[in-house]
């Protein structure tokens, strides 16, 4: 009883939606990386205020559901005359939420580098910048890759939520197809195939990154 022609007929529509999903997700990941890096540094800072601010950021954006954040940015701010465009709300929402997770991933990875290494480097006369650039960051990056890829695949799937601000991403479009054709199974299977393909690519890139960063490691 399956009618694969439903997916075939809507293939261009689904492909465009998959492109939109990839676009908002990649932009969200990039924004999240920048935010995550800054927030992580703030949390590790010796300055009490900065460390608390970083901690507050993480608790807030991890603690409030992404759907609520998106609705807040798009509809609530408009009540105060701040009209955030849909695309900015979508990417901003994804990026700010992902930033909180990425900050914690990075912080965990930095903490996993034995503190004796930085102490030894200081004793050998390395400057603070050099210690970060040559000792802490390369190792932290290597340690964080599996968790980061995990976070990216989660974000890709969470990007289905941006339809609440009117972005025609993959899940939304598959629902549109299901409702206009009365063939939900075919439409959702089509969307699932796209998600799987994109996430397999992400995982492949993750493996590649892990292998490249493994150069010079003891294992």
């Amino acid at each position: 009883m399956m009618q694969p022609q439903v997916v075939v007929h809507s293939l261009a529509y689904l492909t465009r939606a998959a492109g939109m999903t990839m676009y908002v997700s990649l932009a969200g990941i990039a924004l999240g990386m920048a935010i995550g890096f800054v927030v992580c540094l703030a949390r590790l800072s010796a300055n009490y205020g900065l460390a608390r601010a970083g901690g507050f950021y993480v608790s807030f954006f991890r603690g409030v559901p992404l759907l609520v954040q998106l609705l807040f940015i798009y509809y609530f701010l408009a009540e105060f005359g701040v009209d955030v465009p849909a695309m900015a709300a979508a990417i901003g929402g994804l990026g700010m939420a992902s930033g909180a997770y990425q900050a914690e991933i990075l912080r965990g990875a930095l903490n996993a580098v034995p503190s004796g290494q930085a102490e030894a480097a200081t004793a050998l006369g390395f400057s603070r910048a050099e210690i970060w650039r040559r000792i802490l960051l390369p190792q932290a990056l290597r340690i964080s890759v599996p968790s980061l890829i995990n976070e990216f695949t989660l974000l890709l799937k969470a990007s289905s939520l941006v339809s609440v601000v009117g972005i025609a991403e993959l899940t939304r479009v598959s629902m549109n197809i299901a409702s206009s054709t009365y063939r939900p199974l075919e439409a959702y299977l089509g969307a699932a195939a796209f998600y799987l393909a994109i996430n397999l690519c992400l995982a492949g890139l993750g493996n590649l990154a892990e292998r490249r960063l493994a150069a010079g490691s003891l294992q």
Binding site: G81, N176, S180, L185
Partner: protein
């Protein structure tokens, strides 16, 4: 002259200053919001574009066919903006985002069909009816046990949560000799899917929606006639303070009814044409 030493500010002072600053910024921003609220019709004419929102998952009213917006609402709004002399921009939003978006002024008017009810009239301004919204039932085409609406007694019926049609079903079921099990779904399409899969015995929705669904999958679905509900209508909705815009839209809709354009749209999507009330009817529900 007042002596002011910034370094003597305590933490509490700073917090207080911050709060006052935030509050005044908030007041300024909300003032700005109110200033923008003036007259939507004048705004629309000035920018030369009416921004509408609907959920493109409500055939035959709103359909997204391979990415192209189609349906009764699309055909009708295209005629309405011709009368207003402006262009139109369509937004596709989930139903749960549409009414908040209307209040947040993210668009000018909602053209998703909204059933006119007393409760909703307190909060939104309705246009004149654009279609019949009387509740009816749909069954599996091969199910001979349901021939008239009353035959759902003792069976399971599904419908979309929060809709007026589901409320009508519950009122109807209460009067039947045997209890009806009512299953609530996030949207009608899940109710149709469960009907096809045999998990429920009938789906409730407005008559035009069901007639279209049954025509699309005639091997699977059939409409149970007659419609059982109280006669109700679908309208579009605007913000309560946008009377000028809604009046202009009403005039345009009535014009399409007079010159036969409405009948043509109805024939295309419902297979027949019918008359609609010329004013917003007093809601029965």
């Amino acid at each position: 002259m007042m002596k002011f030493d910034a370094y003597s500010l305590t933490r509490r002072d700073m917090l207080r200053t911050g709060l006052i600053g935030a509050a005044s910024a908030g007041a300024w921003l909300s003032g700005l919001g109110a200033a923008l609220a003036d007259d939507t019709l004048a705004d629309v004419k000035k920018r030369g574009e009416l921004v509408i929102a609907t959920e493109m998952q409500f055939p035959p009213f709103d359909i997204s066919d391979n990415g192209t917006y189609k349906g009764v609402d699309r055909d009708l709004i295209d005629e309405v903006v011709k009368e207003l002399g402006v262009k139109v921009k369509y937004l596709d939003l989930p139903w749960t985002s549409i009414l908040p978006g209307l209040e947040a002024k993210k668009f000018d008017i909602c053209i998703a069909p909204v059933t006119i009810t007393k409760e909703r009239m307190q909060r939104y301004l309705f246009t004149v009816p654009i279609a019949d919204a009387t509740a009816a039932l749909m069954k599996r085409a091969n199910d001979a046990s349901i021939a008239k609406p009353e035959d759902i007694a003792g069976k399971t019926v599904g419908g979309q949560k929060g809709t007026s049609q589901l409320a009508q079903l519950k009122a109807f079921a209460a009067k039947l000799p045997k209890p009806v099990e009512v299953k609530e779904y996030v949207d009608n399409n899940q109710s149709y899917a469960d009907l096809a899969a045999g998990r429920i015995d009938a789906s409730v929705n407005s008559f035009p929606n069901l007639a279209y669904a049954a025509a699309q999958r005639a091997d699977t679905f059939a409409v149970v006639t007659p419609a059982f509900g109280t006669p109700t209508y679908f309208s579009w909705v605007g913000r309560l303070d946008d009377k000028a815009l809604i009046d202009a839209v009403n005039a345009a809709i009535l014009k399409t009814e007079e010159d036969g354009r409405m009948a043509k749209i109805q024939k295309t999507w419902f297979g027949q044409s019918f008359d609609l009330p010329k004013t917003v009817p007093e809601p029965q529900l």
